[in-house]
Point group: none
Chain length 199, copies 4
Amino acid sequence: MAIIVDKEAKRRDIALSCRDLLQENGIGNLTIAQIAQTAGVGKGTIYEYFDNKEDIVFEIITTFLREDLSRLQQLVTLPLSTREKLFRFCTTLFENEKGQKHLELFKEFLAISLTHKDASMLRFSQQTRVAFHAILEQILDEGITRGELEERFRGAAGSLIIFSTGLMVDSRLEGFDIQHELNAFLDLLFPTPTQGTPS
Amino acid sequence: MAIIVDKEAKRRDIALSCRDLLQENGIGNLTIAQIAQTAGVGKGTIYEYFDNKEDIVFEIITTFLREDLSRLQQLVTLPLSTREKLFRFCTTLFENEKGQKHLELFKEFLAISLTHKDASMLRFSQQTRVAFHAILEQILDEGITRGELEERFRGAAGSLIIFSTGLMVDSRLEGFDIQHELNAFLDLLFPTPTQGTPS
Amino acid sequence: MAIIVDKEAKRRDIALSCRDLLQENGIGNLTIAQIAQTAGVGKGTIYEYFDNKEDIVFEIITTFLREDLSRLQQLVTLPLSTREKLFRFCTTLFENEKGQKHLELFKEFLAISLTHKDASMLRFSQQTRVAFHAILEQILDEGITRGELEERFRGAAGSLIIFSTGLMVDSRLEGFDIQHELNAFLDLLFPTPTQGTPS
Amino acid sequence: MAIIVDKEAKRRDIALSCRDLLQENGIGNLTIAQIAQTAGVGKGTIYEYFDNKEDIVFEIITTFLREDLSRLQQLVTLPLSTREKLFRFCTTLFENEKGQKHLELFKEFLAISLTHKDASMLRFSQQTRVAFHAILEQILDEGITRGELEERFRGAAGSLIIFSTGLMVDSRLEGFDIQHELNAFLDLLFPTPTQGTPS
DNA sequence: TATGAATGAGTATTCATTCAT
DNA sequence: CATGAATGAATACTCATTCAT
């Protein structure tokens, strides 16, 4: 048992030590040699703790994901309107420099998972999706509970996740105004008297 | 006097002759040698009509795109409800085997354009987006004109495109039910008495 | 006969129109397509007047050579000491921007003739050498006649040509001071009382 | 524990095993595939020990250079007149078949270094030049010490190197008699009573 | 005489992964 | 447990030259 614990610990150690490396280089330019050197171990050792390059990249991305999810989790409890929460949920990755770097990474990961259809790849993608979905669901449920949202929004998390995915992908285009597009979308979902029915 | 060749025509000829090849191999496994052989010309000849591999892949994809856009264009005139049109707009690529192949190609193209940020790549992506956007807009405008859609849906094409992108990307996930997700989304946009408020 | 004359005239026309092109691009980056376009004829036409790329490059270089030889020829008649004339003979290609461009071209030509041992290549190299040799001989002979040079310098043109070649080649090295090296060499050849016999 | 390899030793091993290959094919026709096969390693292994093709070509040429320099070094100690030593210094590469092969290689290298002005290329050229210069200086200094040469020949190594370069380059010309040209040059430098003033 | 469409050979380099020690 | 030396597949692109018209 102790050994297993150690393995997990070392996995984390290696992943943790390579966070900056991954952010700087991106997935495509990251080499096992760099990872090994940065982690201070031999190349062969990496393969003692990870199945392949993907595996270790997942582990590192997971640490970023944990951060982002944690931030998003806090968002749920913030004293904001539901709409505002949804807005922030979708724009959090576009906000500061750190978010941008994570975004770039996620886009790169998306690109890989779009072509490499390994089981582990899909599993990871799905787990990630589930985590984001859960938070979104919380926001929506609370919105409904607080009377800000109609009952029909229960179960709408899936749609919002899909839209978020599209937002992330289409943000690559030049002249794409995320805030504008997102607001237009939210206006569509939550028609307000002032907007929907201009006298 | 030398033969004067219609460059545009030959471009199309080459592109046309390589459609199957691209569908079978995908973008990543397509080689210039294969293209040349399939088109029945020398490798050098390819470069007389295309700037680089990207250029020719774009041209071939464009032929698929033209087909899909044409089908979508016909959709606009079909005697269907606006909602049904939007539904079909989003699912057309998921329908038959042919659509599936195009879908695979588009996903691969998306993956590439997500990481290779060349000017030509972005330009092509944007052009494609504009074409789809235009059709969507037609459907929406008509829906509004016919009174099926509220005025607020004018300009909603952007949101729908983004959702479609997300749909395409997330469709890679196992157990992802496109029809279900799309219906849920449309229900959200067009709350009907029967669906939204089941007595 | 008329046709032959025309051929020669057209050869010159083409060569003349491509002088700048060759100077800008160098031999290595010059393409037949560019030559044809610049000369305002078809690629095939080039081969009506020239045997191959080398042939046309020679023709163009020859026009430069003619210029340089003409300048050098003038040098012979200038009211300068023989030593000064020899100095200028060797440095003329290093002097102004124009000389530099010719120099670069000659170096490139030298590189080619060092590996491509075609008969035409050798012939051209030899012809060039002969032309420079003749001028050098004039300078030396005159120097001897005027009593500035000892009799033993008769026939020394060959040595000086070889040194010039070396100068041209070694000038590629960083920190190589042409003037210094050349002066040192000339001091060696023409020992002056102040330098050769101190005290 | 993994095997620790002496990188320098392996570099030499690979270089050594490819000497013949380089001499047979020349630089231009040498492929990495051939090098790897000849050295009995994989292509990737080559790049573990060399940065690029240039790097390995330099290393191989260096082994030839070491031989030639060693022979030249011995020349310094031979019981010959200074003039004879200088003569041999310049003709050593033209002597036997082996020298001829080295010469061909050097000419090819010269051709490349004349057009490819990379830093590493220049550095290598300069190092080589320095090594030959040093030996020449030894010969000259000794000649001066022994009273065979006038004091003015101190520092003349540079001029002689340049002449040697020219000799190497011009030797490509048909009908170029190295011995004759070199003797003419040496006669010029060392005027003897019998030669300079024939009664 | 002029043209320009067609051609096709030829090669360096990267890097995830393995396995002998 | 750890290591790091060895591996090898896979591919775009240029351009001088030809020859049918």
